[in-house]
């Protein structure tokens, strides 16, 4: 049940507008006390309406700067940004009607006001009146589990609730595009999980376009379907989360042999394996032998199985190495640094 009114422009399921947000060749260099910081070298991407995209990247990669350029809080040196076809740089006021954000490192809300007062204020300055939004605001409080805190001044809330209030204020503006820059920063495991769950629920019901930047891979892996990885002011990966994971998943295998019962001696196994797969590693435990192999391509799996058969190895398990976004991300950034360094 979504309480959003019908005229709220965010209900597309299959990305009717693939270029709902389009960023082209964005560049920004900061002049900081005569030192030049190339925060964004060249960033281009587009996001479809209703997509939930993660923005990843190491510290100083340019994520926040990119978001602020889109929001009109930072003036880019060059590049085109359009939201729903509106040129953000030429027509910032019109564009801002479509956007809301929780910004990194700022309080975002008035600590002296209550949760409810904050919500109606921030929605109000976006043109959503209490009359029009009341039902939806209540629904947000419910979803974000803020109902009990409705009339508490924000300064008396824990940091998790403060952050949730900021998220509520951003969502209450009912804009089709929402940016969340590090929404779970400083939250404990429990609060972070709750916020993620709420975001997922809201997203599945409302189909808004949400862009989440976070260092917490669980957040991205959990709620986003696509991820854009930025490093050194450039986009290095732009792929579906599943696609990205499978890219790393196909390569890494772990084979556990029992120590006894092999048709060949362990020495022979080791010799043969390292001959066929020089990249393989073997570790022995009390009862088992573990082989780790990074396969170079999808066909090497046959060779691996054949080799093991020839050795008449007693296989206990073959498993794919678990990949999560964190590993994939670290690997990409590592490779990127190798190329650049």
């Amino acid at each position: 049940m979504s309480v959003l009114s019908k005229d709220m422009p965010c209900a597309s399921r299959d990305f009717l507008e693939p270029n709902f947000l389009a960023v082209k060749h964005l560049r920004k260099t900061f002049l900081d006390k005569k030192r030049k910081v190339e925060a964004i070298k060249d960033i281009s991407f587009s996001v479809g309406k209703g997509e939930m995209v993660g923005l990843l990247g190491p510290n100083g990669a340019g994520k926040t700067t990119t978001i602020k350029c889109i929001l009109g809080l930072v003036k880019p040196d060059s590049g085109d940004i359009t939201v729903s076809g509106i040129d953000c740089r030429r027509n910032p006021r019109e564009a801002s009607k479509n956007m809301a954000a929780v910004l990194e490192g700022a309080r975002n809300v008035y600590w002296r006001l209550t949760v409810w007062e904050n919500i109606i204020f921030f929605a109000g300055i976006h043109g959503v009146s209490v009359v029009k939004g009341k039902e939806y605001f209540e629904y947000l409080l419910e979803e974000l589990k803020l109902k009990d805190k409705r009339d508490t001044e924000v300064r008396n809330l824990s940091s998790g609730y403060k952050q949730k209030t900021a998220v509520a204020c951003a969502l209450a503006k009912m804009t089709p595009l929402v940016f969340l820059d590090e929404p779970t920063l400083g939250l404990d495991v429990e609060s972070s999980y709750e916020l993620r769950e709420a975001l997922k629920r809201l997203q599945s019901e409302e189909k808004r376009t949400i862009i989440v930047s976070s260092h917490d891979m669980r957040v991205i892996q959990d709620v986003c379907s696509r991820v854009i990885i930025v490093s050194g002011g450039k986009v290095v990966v732009d792929a579906g989360v599943e696609e990205l994971l499978s890219l790393f998943r196909t390569r890494s295998y772990r084979i556990v042999l029992s120590r006894n019962g092999n048709g060949t001696s362990l020495e022979e196994i080791r010799r043969k394996m390292t001959q066929v797969f020089p990249q393989a590693g073997m570790t022995e435990t009390r009862d088992t032998v573990e082989i780790k192999v990074d396969l170079k391509n999808a066909f090497e799996i046959y060779e691996l199985v054949d080799t093991l058969r020839d050795l008449r190895a007693a296989i206990e398990t073959i498993s794919q190495e678990e990949v999560d976004l964190e590993r994939a991300f670290l690997e990409i950034v590592r490779r990127e640094n190798e190329i650049c360094g």
């Binding site: 920004k28 900061f30 002049l31 925060a39 700067t65 602020k68 929001l71 009109g72 809080l73 930072v74 003036k75 006021r93 019109e94 801002s96 009607k97 956007m99 809301a100 954000a101 910004l103 700022a106 309080r107 975002n108 809300v109 008035y110 600590w111 002296r112 006001l113 007062e117 109606i120 204020f121 921030f122 929605a123 109000g124 300055i125 976006h126 043109g127 959503v128 009146s129 204020c169």
Partner: protein, 257 residues
């Protein structure tokens, strides 16, 4: 959208006001005490050396104009720094209404509150001092509006400065008192001084409030000077604000403090 935004802004200003009541009350008390000191100080020394008019009514008018100036610019000027400190400035900048309008709404709200209080205070002052001013609304209101508009210009200019130079509040304190300087410069020796911010406004208001003239009895050329300087200072102020704004956006430190 505008009406909703205005309403939200005023509701929020009211809510914040009730939480920061102490600040406001203490501000008003300070203003009253300064007035008493000025009034009795000048009474003892004799005010004729300055361009304040020879009369205590002149001083009185000067003080009221000064208060109008202060209530006209201070929320704009301090707003930027305050919002940056509360961490909400960038959020306000996300509003499609635009920060400058939101700031203006807040300014207007606070001005209306102050205005009511000042009216009460002026009456108290008149009772304290036994000096009675001519409060002919038809004549007084347009003149106050002009002074107020000039003060808005000053406020926007200072807000623009605050966007670029973050810790500048000490300077605002100086401005608050520096403004009085514009009243004091004698015109016979420095004819250009009548174009200074608030100078002509104060002069004409003195004629009306202390001298008892009506609006249409004032000198046409003086009114022209008032209109020109009002347009100019308001325009310059907004221009300065825009300049500060684009610089902060280029430097990327809009929300920083």
């Amino acid at each position: 959208m505008w009406l909703v935004a205005l309403k939200s802004s005023w509701r929020q200003s009211f809510q914040l006001m009730t939480r920061y009541m102490f600040n406001m009350v203490s501000g008003l008390v300070t203003m009253y005490i300064i007035f008493l000191m000025l009034f009795f100080g000048v009474k003892a020394v004799g005010g004729s050396a300055l361009n304040l008019g020879d009369t205590l009514e002149g001083l009185f008018t000067g003080y009221v104009v000064w208060m109008i100036v202060i209530i006209g610019y201070q929320d704009l000027a301090y707003g930027v720094t305050n919002e940056a400190q509360t961490g909400t400035l960038e959020q306000l900048y996300l509003s499609p209404v635009g920060y400058r309008w939101l700031a203006f709404f807040t300014q207007l709200f606070n001005s209306l509150i102050y205005l009511t209080e000042i009216t009460v205070m002026v009456v108290i002052m008149m009772l304290t001092t036994g000096k009675w001013l001519h409060l002919d609304l038809v004549s007084v209101f347009p003149l106050f509006a002009a002074v107020y508009a000039q003060a808005l210009g000053l406020g926007f200019a200072l807000a623009g400065l605050a966007l670029v130079y973050k810790r500048i509040q000490a300077f605002f304190q100086i401005v608050t008192f520096g403004v009085i300087g514009f009243f004091f410069i004698p015109w016979d020796r420095f004819p250009w001084a009548k174009y200074l911010p608030f100078a002509m406004g104060r002069y004409l208001l003195e004629k009306v409030m202390a001298g008892g003239l009506r609006l249409w009895q004032l000198d046409g050329s003086d009114i022209l000077v008032l209109l020109i300087s009002t347009g100019m200072y308001l325009g310059l102020g907004i221009l300065a604000f825009s300049a500060g704004e684009s610089r902060a956006k280029a430097k990327g430190f809009l929300g920083q403090y």
